[in-house]
């Protein structure tokens, strides 16, 4: 190929470097472009954290039991973060996820404790949580895609309204879940792995496939990267945006089920500040807040970094406030590292 370019004297880069080294650089470039290269900074940060954990916590940190604890703690926010990744890549943002989780949890427990009583099957509760949360997402999507309200404003309004509705439904009381089938199903283990962790893993895998292997995922990148180009290519941008928020709503519903199982309660105080944790995890995972670029793998590592950090602090008896400071520092450092590496891998082209 490159020889023929030289022969006809067409303009282009002079044939110095690229010719002899082309095969090896392009392979290198592909690796750098792949998820490994883009997430190199994150993997590095994770490794450093693990080393810190092992040094300070020793056996207590480096045990299977503690690993499962970390994963279980991260699973709820992890599921929300997967949904958030889609919305942010698609050029949006959702501040209402925490409120949505709370609303779905109290609605589902109210159905179980009051309307239907003790005989309710656990699947009704799960269905209720998923439907409520998805509807909240759909309303967000309608306001944003068709009402043309800025995502920040629309979901800020939803944050206030959904939390308020949750308080009214719950009457400001925490509702204890007494449906034994529900607790048996979600609080248990399968082959030693907590069900919550399995749910997170399944959501992450489905999310990865959806983002990287389907037309839906490709369109998400297009809508977030250049909405006008997507529209002029025949993509229904408004409808796609609606589905993105509905999808995030569904993951909030799943998260609500998980938090109900973990705490055995439904409460209007569930999911406090989830929006910030989820957005932070997505952003340190390398997803651009302006849309068009991002990875599920990055988000999962982002979630793991956060939970591992909390775990290490708890094991060393450090305060929650110190944790918060460390979180802030981690966000900035991780994003700085991400940018450096992204710049370098782009300069290769």
């Amino acid at each position: 190929m490159s020889e023929s370019v030289v022969a006809v004297e067409t303009p282009g880069p002079p044939p110095v470097g690229p010719d002899d080294s082309a095969p090896s650089t392009s392979r290198l470039r592909r690796i750098f472009r792949g998820s490994v290269g883009r997430n190199l900074g994150l993997i590095l940060a994770l490794v450093i954290l693990i080393i810190v954990g092992v040094v300070t916590g020793g056996e207590r940190f480096a045990s299977i039991e503690n690993t499962l604890t970390i994963l279980r703690l991260g699973s709820v926010i992890g599921v929300v973060s997967i949904g958030m990744t889609f919305v942010i890549i698609g050029g949006g943002i959702d501040l209402s996820v925490g409120a949505n989780v709370a609303l779905a949890s109290v609605w589902a427990t109210t159905v179980a404790t009051q309307t239907l009583g003790r005989d309710v099957h656990w699947i009704v509760m799960v269905g209720c949580a998923l439907i409520v949360a998805t509807c909240v997402g759909l309303i967000n999507g309608l306001m944003i895609a068709y009402g043309k309200i800025a995502p920040f404003i629309a979901t800020l309004a939803m944050l206030a309204a959904a939390r308020g509705l949750a308080e009214i439904i719950a009457d400001r009381k925490t509702q204890i879940i007494t449906v034994q089938g529900f607790l048996d199903t979600f609080s248990g283990d399968v082959l030693g792995v907590p069900v919550l962790v399995i749910i997170f893993a399944v959501v992450a895998v489905i999310g990865w496939i959806l983002l990287n292997r389907t037309t839906f995922g490709r369109r998400t990148f297009a809508v977030g990267g250049n909405a006008e180009a997507a529209r002029l290519s025949g993509i229904r941008v408004q409808r796609h945006t609606l589905w993105l928020y509905a999808l995030l709503g569904t993951t909030c519903g799943i998260a609500a089920v998980m938090i109900m199982a973990r705490t055995t309660t439904g409460s209007s105080t569930h999911g406090m500040l989830y929006e910030l944790d989820a957005i932070a995890a997505v952003v340190i995972g390398g997803t651009l807040l302006t849309g068009g670029r991002g990875t599920i793998v990055g988000t999962v590592i982002g979630v793991l970094i956060f939970t591992m950090l909390s775990n290490i602090f708890t094991l060393n008896n450090l305060s929650i406030s110190a944790q918060a400071i460390a979180k802030g520092v981690i966000i900035v450092v991780a994003v700085l590292l991400q940018q450096r590496i992204a710049d370098r891998s782009r300069a290769v082209t």
């Binding site: 190929m1 370019v5 004297e9 067409t10 303009p11 282009g12 880069p13 002079p14 110095v16 470097g17 690229p18 650089t25 392009s26 592909r30 472009r33 496939i209 959806l210 292997r213 389907t214 037309t215 839906f216 995922g217 490709r218 369109r219 990148f221 297009a222 990267g225 250049n226 006008e228 180009a229 997507a230 529209r231 002029l232 290519s233 025949g234 993509i235 229904r236 068009g292 670029r293 782009r346 300069a347 290769v348 082209t349």
Partner: protein, 515 residues
């Protein structure tokens, strides 16, 4: 350089010495020598034209001059003194200003605020808004555009107005060298003439202008001297702009000695059922009662000034704007008004005017850009068959000879002509039957143009109905089978391209009658 030319410049201070001397400039990007020995000297009061194909290094050279890139080798002298342009501010302080092809104005600020951006007149930290407006008004008057109001919001101005604001901003900083990157690309004929007056006025006051354009006739009209770049090197410098034969210039740029040629038309007349039938579409204050037909294999060109409604007509046919009356039929079936996806499903494709902002996903691969409109073809249920997708993209890239031919490269890194081919490839892949082209060769170099022309004709010959809009009358006449002339939102002429010539068209668009 020739000393007698420098002597003719009105600015006595620099007589005999150049304002700017660049020699042996080398700029290396990883894997590419973007500049590989550029020599350029510019004297005060001249219009120095820079010619070269896309990828010849013009943009990199501008970035070096405006302080955005640092050269790896070579020297820059300013008024005879060695200077280092370490950042844009340093270049600005010397008096170098660049007017970019993609204008860098803040759309939400007013004209006056944009002009003073970065050096607002202040008193005790407060903006002197009155002084700001007065300065803006004075500069706009000097540029011969007093009709632009300092208080109007820049986003509401047409492209020509924005360009004037950009120039006023440069002048507000006491510019000595103004670099204009394809200023005429967004202008129509009348506006270009006014721009030339402004440029002449500037050079009479001792300002030097580096003028970049792909249009040779403009270089003849406005230029004093020409420097030609090719593959990052200066291949000729100081050529007299008025008298150097076109054939020589093109040979220097391309290493070939052909001008771009238009492909032969396949047929004289088109009869039978039209592929695209536009029936009486209107949009208030844009255009009124537009009807025409395009047959399979036919290229119909819309000629008219910027603002005549020609681009709006194209976008309405595509459904990107909703028609207020009438309808658009493709192969006999009416399209859903105001729905792009209905048009795309019916087999209509649009290559929009603004490639970067309206067509491309710049940060994504060429492959993803090519397949964007036909993802459904590669879907098995919801899943993408990426092997099939990559193969199809690769095939299109090879068929259209996109260079470099690497489907995994980011679209951002391609030249204008190759980006246009990527957009064309996108629609070819959908198997479209009606292709709408808005300014298909804007920012595309001479060599790549001929290729695009041949490609468009080939497409038509394969049975596609093509509707073309272009600011360049020779392009509309040379490429189309039939020409519609639009003036003030109405069709004032509809006839075969062979029966009308350039001056007829100009007469029609400017006065409403042929000459």
């Amino acid at each position: 350089m020739s000393p007698d030319l420098a002597d003719q410049t009105p600015n006595g201070a620099s007589a005999g010495g150049a304002l700017l001397e660049m020699s042996g400039i080398v700029k290396i990007f990883p894997g590419v020598r973007a500049l590989d020995g550029v020599d350029l000297d510019v004297v005060s009061g001249e219009v120095h034209c820079l010619l070269g194909q896309n990828g010849a290094g013009k943009s990199t050279l501008i970035k070096v001059l405006s302080g955005a890139h640092h050269p790896d080798e070579g020297t820059i002298r300013w008024n005879g003194e060695h200077v280092r342009l370490t950042n844009p501010t340093a270049a600005m302080r010397l008096g170098i200003a660049a007017i970019y092809q993609e204008l860098d104005l803040v759309n939400d600020l007013t004209v006056a605020q944009n002009i003073s951006l970065g050096h607002e007149p202040t008193r005790a930290g407060f903006d002197r808004r009155h002084a700001e407006r007065e300065r803006a008004a004075a500069l706009l008057l000097r540029l011969g555009h007093p009709e632009i109001q300092p208080n109007s919001v820049v986003g509401n101005l047409p492209a020509a107005g924005k360009q004037i604001v950009s120039m006023a901003r440069a002048l507000s900083r006491d510019v000595k060298l103004m670099i204009m990157d394809e200023p005429s690309a967004v202008l129509d004929q009348g506006e270009v003439a006014r721009l030339f007056q402004v440029i002449r006025d500037l050079t009479d006051n001792g300002v030097a202008v580096i003028y970049i354009s792909h249009r040779l006739e403009e270089i003849r009209a406005i230029g004093d001297r020409v420097t030609v770049l090719k593959d990052g090197r200066t291949v000729a410098t100081g050529l007299p702009a008025k008298t150097t034969p076109t054939a020589d210039v093109i040979r220097l740029m391309t290493g070939r000695s052909i001008e771009y040629v238009f492909p032969d038309r396949s047929r004289d007349s088109f009869v039978g059922e039209p592929m695209l039938d536009v029936v009486g579409i209107s949009r208030s204050r844009e255009f009124e009662d537009i009807s025409f037909r395009v047959h399979p294999g036919e290229v119909v060109g819309l000629a008219g000034l910027v603002g005549s409604g020609r681009s709006e007509i194209l976008e309405t046919v595509y459904g990107a704007r909703r028609t207020e009356s009438g309808s658009v039929l493709v192969d006999g079936k009416a399209l859903h008004a105001g729905s792009v996806s209905s048009a795309v499903t019916a087999g209509v494709g649009l290559c929009p005017e603004e490639r970067k902002s309206q067509a491309l996903l710049l940060d994504q691969t060429v492959s993803n850009n090519v397949t964007l409109a036909s993802l459904r073809k590669f879907a098995v249920g919801p899943f993408l068959n990426r092997h099939k997708e990559d193969a199809a993209a690769r095939q299109q890239i090879e068929a259209l000879d996109v260079r470099p031919g690497d489907p995994q490269r980011d679209a951002r890194t391609l030249s204008g002509g190759n980006q246009q081919k990527v957009v064309l490839a996108r629609w070819l892949l959908t198997g479209c039957r009606v292709l709408l082209l808005d300014e298909p060769t804007r920012g595309v170099d001479v060599g790549a143009r001929s290729e695009l022309y041949a490609l468009i004709r080939e497409l038509a010959n394969s049975g596609v109905a093509v509707l073309l809009v272009s600011s360049e009358v020779p392009e509309v006449l040379g490429l189309s089978d039939r020409v519609l002339v639009i003036r003030d939102g109405r069709i004032v002429h509809d006839g075969p391209a062979q029966e009308i010539d350039e001056s007829d068209v100009l007469g029609l668009v400017m006065e409403g009658s042929p000459r």
